[in-house]
Symmetry: C2
Subunit: 294 residues, 2 copies
């Protein structure tokens, strides 16, 4: 949720009954502090911060999180062993994002409080095993004792119910919130997403870190380089720095990385976060009723 | 379900309360006739035949199906326009397998009675869009009026309920039945599948027809050739003929294609078909109860 989930989206989610997360991955340490402070001012409800553990200034990020009294941290993209003890020692609940059983077990051993299981259909950075939400939830739920929060392809009340049916204890919603008014993504990016159809996204850059994005001009360049048997170094050079910011935050639909999940094909309107949550809960309850009547 | 679903598996599924399908894709026309006749002798319940429409002797296959009085045909891998009218004119119910919205609409227009929506997690040949079951079911259900049968990643009562929650009217189960006693697959293939973990399968040969299989020696050869920028012709040469038979039916775990879905990681035992269906129905009902109690 880099370039998407600042204090505005996080506080809106929390105010509407969810657990809002600030995405620290796209923020300088002092920017994160500002977002945490603004989020605290905007909601009295709990919220959390998502921290990619490979973040270069991770020490500063963690110090700010403790200093500002954040109570919930979601960690991703890295080894949870290093930071879990520190965070829990500071009274912080730790949730770690995984996409396979092996790392689920490692994270549980590292002492995290819960897991997010991220399926192949999720947007942005993603696992190498390509296991989908439908298969991943039961596998991880069967392997660990801690609670499991499902992510990947969950953008409606029906998919929320499907995740719960598969054994999840909760759901994490990315794509649907990225396409709300409160999301800090560029309007052009949001419009590109809500007009895209099935097959519009692809998991690419697998030689580097696999990432799901919309097939645009930049992706076609990646594909062409891969077809010419380009090296990892050439791919890194093509990717360069700041492509996600360029696409998501600045709205450059040709040159930017337009990270989004497959579920974008189900989303046709940019609405307010509150409407998303109300609609999801309503559809969830209706779907439970429908299943009872079969 | 080539090399897996002969009369023995199909009749066992039908006798246990499902709709058994004979997979014609791996059969000579007269072999199919023999399987249909044996299936009729083994069950008084309805069963069907799955026909890949790109089959070389498709005219003979269709003539045998009509001649033997088969009442249900599932078509896949090809354009349903050509054969749907013929089949329906002979009083046969036609179900077509699709993996995107565009072909779902085309199949509906061609007059098929229902659709199978096949997600990225499914074993064997698969769609190019890589849309997962979680995302595909609501998209196709929302686009067509005819019934939708979900396939891909459905191997338990929980995943069956998830599919129904997503809007499916029924489910098609492949991988779980491929790993039963009645499946005609080789014992070595079945054992390789039930001991594989998450990440053991991959969607490969995307330059030809994408196929999901277990990462074995043959797959490593495909990968190496792709990394050396091998041409389509070189890949076709490497693939050759009869790899699926070699792997699935003859049990050559190194040189064969071991086609199976991601859900294989959830399956640890080879059991009888009847047990699969009883267990799925039991778990489905338990999961409905559990959801009501949340």
């Amino acid at each position: 949720m880099i370039w998407v989930s600042g204090w505005r989206l996080a506080s809106a989610v929390s105010n509407a009954g969810g657990l809002g997360l600030i995405g620290a991955g796209s923020m300088y340490p002092e920017t994160l502090r500002e977002h945490i402070q603004k989020c605290k001012a905007a909601t009295g409800k709990p919220f959390g911060v998502n921290v990619p553990l490979l973040y270069p200034e991770i020490d500063k990020i963690m110090a700010i999180i403790v200093d500002e009294g954040v109570k919930i941290v979601f960690t991703s993209a890295g080894n949870p062993t290093t930071w879990t003890t520190f965070l829990k020692g500071n009274g912080i609940t730790v949730v770690h994002v995984v996409s396979n059983v092996k790392f689920a077990l490692k994270a549980e051993e590292a002492g995290v409080d819960a897991l997010v299981t991220e399926g192949f259909e999720a947007g942005g950075h993603n696992g190498r095993e390509e296991t989908t939400t439908m298969v991943l939830i039961p596998l991880i739920k069967g392997a660990v004792k801690i609670p499991v929060i499902a992510a990947g392809g969950i953008a409606s009340g029906r998919s929320m119910l499907a995740a719960i049916a598969l054994g999840a204890d909760g759901v994490q919603v990315g794509t649907r919130f990225a396409l709300t008014h409160e999301s800090s993504a560029h309007q052009k990016y949001k419009e590109a997403c809500i007009t895209s159809t099935d097959g519009a996204t692809v998991l690419t850059l697998k030689q580097l870190t696999p990432v799901r994005l919309i097939k645009n001009k930049f992706y076609e360049e990646v594909k062409a380089l891969e077809e010419q048997n380009g090296s990892k170094e050439q791919l890194e050079q093509l990717l360069g720095k700041g492509r996600a910011k360029l696409g998501i935050f600045e709205g450059d639909l040709d040159e930017g990385e337009l990270e989004i999940g497959q579920a974008t094909a189900q989303i046709r309107h940019i609405v307010y976060t509150k409407e998303v949550i109300e609609e999801m809960v309503k559809e969830y309850n209706e779907s439970v009723q429908k299943i009872q009547s079969i």
